[in-house]
């Protein structure tokens, strides 16, 4: 069964450093998403991406974040200058388009980011 994969599973970085989290969405999916979950808090939406551009973003997704689909398979989240409060589990998701906004988002296993 196709699944979303994410690398690395864990990443430790120093405050102020740039990190890139990688995701491989399900191959025939066209919408891609990033969510995050700070320890002990809810899963929060960050951004959605379609047709090589951001289609929707939350207030959390400020200028220090960016997303990219550098090739036909990967989808990346870059944090330019990490802060302590960026420590979280980051989930990638993808969905197909059914035309009804009722498609299912399929999630990867997450990348646990720790900023020291």
């Amino acid at each position: 069964e196709p699944e979303v994969t994410q690398t690395p599973s864990h990443q430790v970085t120093q405050m102020g450093q740039e990190v890139i989290l990688r995701c491989v969405p399900i191959s025939n999916h066209l919408y891609f998403y990033w969510y995050r979950q700070i320890l002990g808090q809810k899963v929060e939406f960050l951004v959605s991406f379609y047709n090589n551009e951001i289609s929707e973003k939350s207030e959390i997704f400020d200028d220090q974040f960016s997303v990219e689909r550098p090739d036909g398979s990967n989808f990346t989240l870059k944090i330019r200058s990490t802060k302590l409060e960026d420590s979280a589990m980051y989930f990638c998701a993808s969905s197909d388009i059914t035309g009804s906004f009722q498609e299912t988002q399929y999630f990867g296993p997450g990348t646990r980011l720790l900023v020291l």
Partner: protein
Amino acid sequence: AQSVTQLDSHVSVSEGTPVLLRCNYSSSYSPSLFWYVQHPNKGLQLLLKYTSAATLVKGINGFEAEFKKSETSFHLTKPSAHMSDAAEYFCVVSDVSTGRRALTFGSGTRLQVQP
């Protein structure tokens, strides 16, 4: 704005007994509702979804949920718990009327299954 409240942060049941995980939602129009499960060190797996068809939705592993508009609830049930059901469960809402695809998650319910 849409929101989800999961009424219990922890639920503990004995193996073989029924499971009830409670969820109430707030949405401006006609929501899509989902239950996802997260096992330790695993991703979020879809259990079931409601998208304005039948109000009683059957999912994987024997779980089901009933959409009750009058009560704004979408509780998850299973007749008989199995040890492998121990996990974190998330109730999730998406409001199609806004045209947004972003999912709104509840805070999660951790299910413990005692032998």
